[in-house]
Every structure is written in C-alpha cells, then in structure tokens.
C-alpha cells in the first residue's frame, strides 16, 4: 500500500479518513465531495479492457459493495464517464445487497439521494425511475424520478402509503439537455429538501420513521424491475447516503461537477495530508516524549524540538532531523538506540516506526510551535449528550412556561458537580434517582402554578377532546416545550395521554396538564438532543445550540421562526439572530455563569480561614469579593464591550465599603460601587481580586497561584510531582518568605525543572496574603517583593517585570493569554474539555474573533458560525 494511502487509512481523522475525496481537476475551489454516510456510489466510468461491460461497480468504498448489473432487453450505451439509459433496460443490485441497503437506511432513518443526469425525454413520467429501491410499481422504500419537468421523490415512512405517497416534488426550471444535479435529503427528524444545481427548490416535512421499510425491494437505476417505468437519459453519478447531507455539502457536490470521481487518491493534497499527519501523530510524539527537555526554554544539549527552524538546525551534537535520511538524524538514531528519551521510558516499536517513517518521508512540519499543552489531552471520540444544568433547567422552565421554579429546583435537584473546570461538563452531568424524582415533582409544581387552560388556548382551536383539536394542539405545545417539531410518533404518544385522561374521567385541563408533565420529563426537554451520527444539525437543533450557548436557555419565538423559515442554514441568517440575541439580558446572565464556573466563585461561600491568623476576617468579605468580580466582568464585557484578555489589567474595580477598606480604598458610599484604581498599583485586574487571590489558601500558596496562572491564563502544563512527594507547604519564618521557599524549590535539581515554570508567575502576587490583603511585610516582618519573570510558553527567554501591575499588563497584552481565554469560553459552550483534535478549531475561532482583541461575544459568535461556514 502506498504510504500516502496508508496514512489516510491509519490517521483515523475526522474529516480525513474517507470523508473527503478528490474532485476532478476542473472542479472549483471548495468542491471536495463528502463521503459522510455514503452507502453506494456509481460513477459509470468506462471499465475499459476486458472488464465486464454489464457491471456498474459501486465505488463508495464500503466493506460491502452494492454493484449493479445491467439487465433488460434494451440497450445501454456506455460513454467515457456516463451511461445512457433507454427503453426497457435498467441496472439492478442483487437482492442481498439491496436488502443490506434497506437495513442500513432503515436504521439511520435519514437519507440522501444524489444524481447527476442529462435527460433525453422531456415528457417522460410515471415518474420515470432514475433511482429506486422498490419491489414493483406500487411498493417502494424510495424512488427519485422525473415527471415531465419535475423531479419527484417518493419515500415510504410511517404515515405514507406503501407507494411512498405523498411525494415531494419540484419543477426544474429550464430543464435541458445539460447536466443537472439533483439531491434529495431527509433528516431523521423528518425535514426533507430537494436541491437542484446547488439550490434548494423545495422543502417540506416528511415525518415518520422508516420503520415500514421492507427487505425484498431492489435497488435499480433507470427503471422498475420488468421495465415498466423507464427513464431515458444519461447518468454520470448516483450516490446514496444514510445521512441527510447539509446545504454546504450539497453545494460542494454541485461545485465538484458531474465528473467528480471518488476513485483514487484523497481530496486533500499530499502536502495537506502530511501536515495533518504531523499535527495528529508526530507533534504529540515529540510533545510527550521530547519537549520536557528539548523545548525552547529547556534546550538541553542546545536542541529545541518545539520549533521547526531550531529543530532542523539541530543541537550541540549535530543535525537532529535530516529530512529523508533517518540514519543521519540524531532524533532517530538516539531513539532507536533507546538513548533517548533520557531517564524515561523508551518509545515502543510502533512509535519508533512512526518517527522513522516521518523523517524518511521528508519530515513535513506544519506548525509554528509544537505546544505540549495542546497534546496533553489526546483526542477523545466520545461525546456525551448534555443534560440541562440546574440553572439551564430553571431558565428553560421560565422562558417556556413563564414559571419561576428556581427556589424549588435548587432545593430538589442534585447539584451539578464541577469537572474539568466547569459545572456543565457533559460527561459529568450524570443522572441520579434524585433527578428523576425531582423532575417529576417539579413538573407537578410547574403545572400547578400555570393557568393551564389559558396556556392551552394559545395552542388549541377549542377545548374539546376531538382528534381534530387535540393533535394540532399537542404538536403546537410540543414544538414550544420541546424546542422543535414533534415526530408523528411523539404526537401519537402525547395524544395517547389525552385519551387516557378522557377515559379516566379527566377534563380538558387535566389532559393538557398531564401532557405537560410528560413533556417536562422527556429527554427532549431535559437534554440538548442533537443528531450525533450525522453530525448535521437541523434548523431546530441549530436554534437550540444558539440559544443555549448565548442565553443558557431555550430558543425564543423569533429564533424558532428563523428555524421554521430556514434562516439558520446560512451564516448570514445565524449572524442576524446572534446580533439580536446578544442584546438580550439573558446573554449577560449566561456569561456570568461562565465567569462563576471558570473562577469557581462558589468556593468563596465556604472559605473558612484560620481565625487566629486572620482575626479581622469576616464572611461578608468573601461575598463582597465575589460581587466585585462579577460586577467588574459585567461592566467590562457588557458595558465597555472590551476584549476578554483586558480583564487582567483594568483601571477600575467594584467594592463594598467593607471591601474598599480591606483593599485600602476610601469608601465612596454604600453598596457595591465602582472605584478608579488606575493610580493604585496594587489593584486592577482579575488577578488582584480577592476572589482569585484566595485560591492559594491561608498560606497564599505560590504553587497554587502559579499553577492557576500557568494553566488558566497561559494554557500550559507541567508534569506531575514525583510520586510520594511530601507536598506539605513549607512554612514561612523570619527571613524566609514564600519567595525564598519558592526559590529553593526552583533551585533544587529535583524540583526546579517544573517549578521554575510556574512559581515565578506568582512572584508578582507575593504581597497579597492568603485572603487577598495587600501588605508590604508578612506576619514575620519580612519585607515582600513583587518583581519577577514570566516565561510565556514557546519563548526561549522569560520576560522580566518589576511590579505586579507590570505583570498584569504583560498578561493583558499576551496573545497566548487571549487564546487561553478563548479556549475557556469554547470549553464552556461545548460543555466538554478540549483535546488535541480541537487545536485547529480553537485557532480558527480565536483568529476570527479578533485574536487579542477577542471579546466574549465574538468568541461565542465565531464558534457558532463555524459549522455554517464550512
């Protein structure tokens, strides 16, 4: 196997491993075809040679191929890249292969059918079968055909007849003998679209699952079995997918042209492939096995393997990487002999092969800087559905039904537990029995508080139990409460409740109340359900993603209308909605949830410092510190609309009178007020807030504070402390300040390698005690300092600062810090920790959001626009 193909097969990369395929050279930019969900593909290319001329091979690349055999009495003319069908002939798959396709599509409950065709008969009808999966003229799973000047798709599903009626159809304006591109797409939620030449020409709901689909139907092209519905014309491509292709994919396929081939090499260029290989395989290898000693800061042996130019230049011992020649590359020879990594586990055989092959193939290197922090968490393909957090649940109830359930929900629902820095981390939003009982009890409470009849009147024509009234009412209520249209099965389910209520002697109000109870406990209410298999968001899933990201709550009526109208399929449509949504107060609330979780402000309510050391501490100060940080954030992010990174160096803060005195400010009045601290070197920026400074505990741990700066601001990491190490804080004493202790650790051979990277980051904070009070001398009378150095990851040399204010400025002017904050916002929005596979996405969002000028709103906006701009 050629190495390039081998890479495609082994990288296992989303968007690469079989999902992108090459377009014809003539295809326009951005015209790569997707193989997402591809089940069968026919390109009708000439077989040449002695190939079976009656065979139409399936070139989708699936393990099970669905080849077609040409049959019938008529003739099929082969052209170079198409097949001409005429009367009384067809191409048919075997029954086994057809049944397999039926089962696959039935399971997915989603479908796309694509065809490039050139008709030769403008009057043919029936519809004339272009592609069909059917038993005869009256029984089918699907059919795409031509009906005079229209394209018609029949799709069997629950609710249709066995002939797949009613169909979806659309006229093809100016249907001619030119090549025409048609795609039919239906999502598992029942949204169906027809596209002609890249443009959507029809959309309609085709609800109902594929459950009625039957095996025993045959996949055919050009006719029904037996020849009674012939289609006359040329076919260049037919493809069948078990997902609903999205608009972007369909447009890409159109741009790729009718001669797009899927055979052969991958769509990405060899250079691009090599870049991805480096980023996904080689960079993690270097990061996890080499950079501990050979990054820009360490440069042991004069070798820096974190940057291309330095790595290729080599170190004291000579060339480290000689492209194409592993045996002349010290990186390889030292690894092969197990001399490297020094004092660490050797690379295993597979890793060694990877390294050797990479060098032999030319040592492609695509990154400016191999950042170890990026590769600390290797890609994790598992994705967990997000349960609504307690706060999201409260907001969803309020926004949907107008009931404030906050007090009861906080009391009854088990709290969400913080994981990887946030309380909304999906994998940790587990479900306890306490949730189930609370959801049931809360549903009762909500319904009891509602004027159910008044609510129902908004959705029903009258207050009767008739099917004519109840079904539309259930559909309407369901769409509002469950944040998207109901499937036919769901409507039947809720309609069943109303029937039971009627049979049990309940009245109309009871019926609506019990329907609401059921909806409030359904997965579609309690979870943010998205189609994870197709990776394609339908309009309502998109609306939910927007609203929960921006508001932490459900879509409003305007957003739902935008989904109804198909506005959310374009970047412009999404942006229009976001512009509106950012002006809503709920966006502020959501951003404050981000802040509180990121900085773990909840921690302040349980501060319990040692009284003998801090006799003048009182718990109200902790609350004042929390409010200080929230008010400062709100002012900067929402009033000033300033860049997020600038939060680290602001000329103002907020304080209560008590906190003002604690900080050495003169109280200006009652309540929480804004204070100008531009002339006060000790305050200004998040790191000088008591809420953050208290993370170091009573002892103002330089380790904890330094690690916070390292991890939460500089997006960097250090290795774990040696196992069994006594990590008890070393006490200060007369002549021994925290800085002295830290310096001893930094200078110790066993500790310094790591401690030098983070403890100096806390030197600027030495004058703040464990509870954030600024002091020139510590409790032993030692004079304290605030100068130090900061080593930005990737830099060879640290940057010196003389005062804490200067360090705050350095942080606030750092692109690295800005991108780290972007990562935090993205993590919060996605409700999962980021891993190595997210690196490109983060950079893209951060850049689009303005880089160092990125505001909170810009970051979220660009993240939400990402999918739509593919």
């Amino acid at each position: 196997m050629p190495r390039l193909c081998f890479l495609v097969a082994t990288l296992g990369l989303a968007g690469l491993n079989g999902s992108l395929v090459r377009a014809e050279p003539a295809a326009t930019h951005g015209s790569t075809r997707t193989a997402r969900g591809l089940q069968a593909l026919y390109t009708f290319e000439s077989q040449g040679g002695n190939g079976d001329r009656r065979l139409v091979p399936d070139v989708a690349g699936q393990k099970v191929v669905i080849d077609l055999a040409i049959a019938g009495k008529g003739s099929i003319q082969r052209r170079e890249n198409s097949l001409q069908f005429s009367e009384d002939c067809w191409a048919a798959a075997s029954q086994d292969a057809s049944d397999r396709l039926t089962r696959v599509l039935k399971r997915s409950n989603a479908l796309s059918i694509e065809a490039w065709f050139k008709t030769s008969d403008f009057q043919q009808s029936g519809p004339a079968r272009i592609v069909t999966l059917s038993r005869d003229t009256r029984n089918r799973n699907f059919t795409l055909g031509q009906n005079i000047s229209k394209i018609e798709v029949r799709l069997r599903r629950r609710g249709s007849d066995s002939n797949g009626l009613p169909p979806i159809s659309a006229s093809i304006a100016g249907l001619s003998e030119k090549w025409t591109h048609v795609v039919f797409s239906r999502s598992s939620r029942g949204d169906a679209f027809l596209y002609v030449n890249g443009r959507q020409v029809s959309s309609q709901a085709m609800p109902g699952s594929f459950e009625p689909w039957e095996v025993g139907h045959t996949l055919l092209i050009g006719n029904e079995l037996g020849g009674s519905r012939p289609w006359n014309g040329d076919l260049a491509l037919v493809a069948i997918f078990n997902v609903a292709l999205n608009q972007q994919e369909i447009q890409r396929h159109y741009r790729a042209g009718h001669r797009a081939s899927l055979l052969g090499a991958p769509a990405v260029t060899p250079e691009e492939l090599a870049s991805l290989h480096f980023e996904r395989k080689i960079a993690p290898l270097l990061s996890n096995h080499c950079l501990e000693c050979h990054d820009s800061a360490s440069r042991e042996g004069g070798l820096d393997l974190s940057k291309k130019s330095e790595a290729f230049a080599g170190g004291d011992s000579g060339p480290a990487i000689v492209p194409g020649d592993p045996l002349e590359s010290l990186v390889w020879t030292s690894v092969e002999s197990d001399d490297m990594p020094h004092d660490r586990d050797s690379l295993n055989a597979a890793q060694k092969t990877l390294l050797k092959d990479w060098i032999a193939d030319g040592a492609a290197w695509s990154l400016d800087f191999v950042d170890p922090a990026v590769y600390r968490h290797l890609p994790n393909s598992q994705r967990w559905i997000s349960r609504l957090t307690v706060e999201e649940y409260i907001e969803t109830i309020r926004a949907t039904l107008g009931v404030d359930i906050a007090k009861q929900a906080r009391a009854q629902l088990p709290p969400d537990v913080r994981a990887d820095g946030f309380r909304n981390t999906a994998y940790n939003l587990t479900v306890d029995f306490g949730h189930i009982s609370a959801y049931a009890a809360l549903a009762d409470t909500v319904v009891e508080r509602m004027d159910v009849v008044a609510f129902a009147k908004e959705h029903a024509a009258n207050l009767t139990f008739t099917d004519k009234n109840m079904r539309p009412m259930v559909e309407s209520i369901g769409k509002q409460v469950l944040r998207g249209p109901l499937s036919k099965e769901e409507v039947a389910l809720y309609r069943g409740i109303t029937t039971t209520v009627a049979l049990s002697g309940g009245d109309f109000e009871d019926a609506v109340a019990f329907v609401l109870r059921a909806m409030l406990q359904s997965p579609r209410f309690l979870y943010r359900v998205e189609d994870e298999k197709s990776g394609y968001l339908d309009a309502y899933e998109q609306a939910n993603r927007l609203s929960y990201s921006v508001w932490g709550g459900p879509p409003d009526a305007a957003l739902m209308r935008a989904a109804d109208d198909g506005e959310l399929t374009t970047a412009a449509g999404i942006r229009r909605q976001l512009d509106r949504m950012w002006e809503d107060p709920r966006a502020v609330t959501r951003s404050l949830q981000f802040l509180e979780q990121w900085l773990d402000l909840e921690r302040l309510s349980s501060l319990n410092p040692e009284r003998s050391r801090f006799p003048d501490w009182n718990p109200s100060l902790a609350e004042a510190m929390r409010r200080e940080t929230i008010a400062t954030f709100r002012d900067w992010v929402w009033n000033e609309r300033g860049p997020l990174v600038q939060l680290l160096d602001l000329p103002f803060t907020y304080a209560t009178p008590g906190l003002a005195m604690y900080y050495g400010l003169t109280p200006q009045g009652e309540g929480l007020l804004r204070y100008d601290v531009s002339q006060m070197s000790s305050r200004g920026g998040l790191l000088t807030h008591g809420s953050v400074l208290t993370i170091g505990g009573d002892d103002a741990s330089m380790v904890t504070r330094g690690l916070f700066v390292l991890r939460d601001l500089l997006f960097s990491e250090v290795g774990d402390p040696p196992p069994g190490l006594d990590t008890s804080p070393v006490p200060t004493a007369r002549g021994v300040t925290h800085r002295v202790v830290a310096t001893q650790r930094i200078e110790a051979e066993a500790c310094g390698g790591c401690h030098k990277r983070f403890e100096p980051l806390a030197f600027a904070l030495e004058k703040y005690d464990g509870l954030g009070r600024f002091q020139e001398r510590d409790e032993h009378g030692n004079s304290l300092r605030e100068d130090g150095e900061i080593l930005f990851p990737g830099d060879a040399e640290p940057t010196r600062y003389e005062t804490s204010a200067e360090m705050m400025r350095l942080l606030a002017e750092s692109e690295r810090v800005a991108e780290c904050l972007t990562r935090k916002v993205i993590q919060f929005c996605l409700a999962r920790p980021l891993d190595a596979s997210d690196a490109r996405m983060v950079t893209r969002v951060h850049t689009a959001a303005g880089g160092i000028r990125a505001r909170y709103q810009d970051i979220v906006t660009q993240l939400l626009l990402l999918d739509s701009s593919n």
């Binding site: 598992q382 913080r418 990887d420 940790n428 409740i497 049990s504 109870r517 359904s522 069994g724």
Partner: protein, 481 residues
Amino acid sequence: MPTPPLDRRALLRGAAGTVIGLPLLEEMIGTTSAAGHAFAGSASQAPTRAFNVFFGLGIPSPLQAEGFDGVLEPLKPLRDKLLIMRNVDHVRCDQSGINAHFDGASAAFTATPPDGEARAGGASIDQVIRRAAYPDGLPSGMVPTLVAGTFFRRSRVGRFVHSFHRDGSVAATMQERPRDLFTRVFGRLIDGEGDASQLRMRRSVLDAIVDQYQSLSGPNSILGAASKNRLSDHLDRVREFEQRAFADRKLDPVETRDSKLREPPKSKLAHGGKADPGGEGLDMQLDDLTHEWRLMADLYALAIEMDRVRFGSLTFLAAGERLRMTGDYVYNGEKRHTFNDSKELGKGGSGGCSHEFWHKFRESQKNVSLRAHAHMKMREVAYFLNRLDETQEANGKSILQNACITISTESGDGRHSDVKRELSGIFHAITEANGRFKTGDIMNVGREGVDVYNTMLQSMGAAERLGPADREHRPVEGILA
C-alpha cells in the same frame, strides 16, 4: 462507642411523623435475607453482589506488616472471613495523573489511571461484575448501583466516588448524607393517595416518558454510544421510579401498609461546598464523625440486606482528606488515644490536619497519631463488615461471605513521605465471594492490582478485564480458594 447501632426493627417500627413510605415491606419483615425474593436460585446460591469499600489516606506498608497486632486489630474478629493482601501495586497508575491522592483513589478498584478531573480510566471492579452477572439489568426495583460515603474533600470526584462505568464516568451519584442514602434506597415517591383514575393518568405519563427514553437509547437512535448510555441510565432510574410509584402498591400487604421507616436524623456535619473550604480542612469531633459513619454503614448494610442493592461503593473519607480531629478514641471500651490534631501538630488550617501525620510518617518512629487514626478507620470499616456478617442467607453463609467485597485505599508503600512510588504496597482486603477466594490469611501478594482484580473478575465469571487491552492476563492463583 458513641452511637448505638441502628436497629432494623426500630427502623421498621418507627414512630409517626415519617414522610417516606416503605416499599417491599414483606421483604423487610423477613428474618433472613430478602435475596431469595429477587434471586431465584437454589439454597446453595446467593445473588451476585460486589461492593468497594474505600478509606482515605491509606496504611503505610510497614504497619500492614504488623498484622492484627497493629492498626489492623479491628479486623481481627473477621479474620476468617477476609483475605488481607499486602504488597499490591498500582504503579502504572502513578504516571500521568493529576495529583497523588487523586491517582491513588482512582486506581483503587479500577487499576487504571484517571482520565480527566472527574473520570476514572475505566470501569471499577463492581461494575464489571454487575454487567457480567446481570447483562439484562438487575431485577426490577433495585437500585442499580449505590454510591455513598462520608467525606469532606470534594475537589475531584475520583477522590470520593469508587464505582465507575466502562467509559470512566461515575456509575451513580454520591449519596453523602444518611438521609440522602435512605431516600435513594427506600424513598417512595407517591404518597399512596389518589384514586385509580388519577393513578392511571399518572401512569400514562410515565409510559410516555419510558417510551421516549427507550427510543433515544435504542438502536435507531440519532445519538452516539456515550449519549445512549447516559439515556439508558436515565431510563433505568425512570423504571425504578415507576416501580416505586406504582408496582410497590401491589406488593404492600394491607396489614403492613401503615408501617413506616423512620427517616434518619438530619446530618450535623458539613456537606456540599462547606465541607471543603479550599483544602484548608475542617474541625471535626470524633463522635460526630463516627455517628454519621455508622448511620451510613447501617443504612447501606440494610439496603443490601433488603436486597435493594447489590453493587456499589462506600467511602470512609475521601483521598487526601484534611480534618482536624478532636475527641477520645475508645476501642472495645478502652481509651486508646485522644485526638487533638491541631494542637499536636502545633498549627491551624491545613497544617493542623491529621493528613500531616501521613506526611510525617517515619518507619523508625512510633507514629502514634497516625496509628490511632488508621486504627479508628479500620474500626469503622469493621463495623460495616460486621453488619453484613450478621445476616445469614439461605446457603448458610452471611452476606459478608457471599458478597464480593473489595476494601482498599489510596496510598501504600510510599508512606506518603518518601520520594518513591507511592502507589505500591496498597492495602487490600477481600471477602470469599461465596467460596471463590481464599480467606483467613494475610498474604504478601507482591503483584499488580490489575492482576489481582482481573483474577477476581475471572473467578466471578466476568469476561471483561481491567487495564490495557493488550496486557497479558497474569492470574494471581494464590488468592483463589
């Protein structure tokens, strides 16, 4: 002994004022285990059960070597029913974790390093056994997994939770107050009031809910595997809810309908955020802690005895716990020690916590306070085990003997102060699991925890293995009966 054991009869015959009804009363009234109710096996059989018992901070290896003459003394009365294992290593878990306490706690019962702040690297032994023994789910109405404990260090979930799914997420939410545990196991959700038509309407709501969770967690779901598992969990709990809300009504004999369980008293200890003031530690009266521990142990044992629970974990303090303990420690009527950690250490805050005795452990010294703390924890573990030993099952053995119980902790041979691997020599003890494992011995195993666990799993009939998939299975024959 500050708190009398919670008497089952007292629970059953509690006074009025109870807010939570008792389901499955006919099981609770039986004098033998209710196991037979849900387990249709012969008299020689017992239901498959597996529990992990965790205690914080560990037992330094030299103290383990003293056997029952040292801190293990409280386990001595149970010596014939336990296999105590020394020199069990989790060294492979001590490489890429976040924090030594977190690594050690995650390694216990999983033998894998943690995977993120709130996830283990893989399944815990109890959950593997659960899946193998009950591939189609536990009998209706049972709590699938009960995770409970008393702890005050909350920074990372793996420090206190010790039952994990295969994907490393927690197998159940931690019940940290006795009242929470009680409600989780015995709580009834519908007050029994309401006429048949009301119940029918409520039932239709639950049917609709179940239908939707089934659909979204089923084979045609639009969700991926992890999400479907999450919704399957949700569905399990909805079914449990359904069982309690409706099915139990039919099971409650009329004559016992008025019997009530007394809800446990409100906990006096700090919980939630207040239980962990930023790692600075909590002041703790020994009697208050013991009271809560015993209540938890009683309730947990009762849940097992009533066959409401067959799998899970119980935690006696989180890994890396910081408490400033005070109070007299009495064992068998004899005062053994007076705790006053802060005073003894001469510090307040985190520096005055008993945790520091582990940092200060030196083999050549007496380590009096560490010994007292470790001994006290063994006393409480033994209390729980004794509760399980009180109930004889149909096969003539006690629940303690029939269940597969693994007892372990977070650190061992590193003794928390030496710069050497800390996750070696971790104390382990197991029960016989109905004749599968050797008991009555203190064994110097000298093997990796992953091999011990996998040997246990194999013996319990589980095909799944813990640890790296490509790791050769190396059975530890010596622990088998």
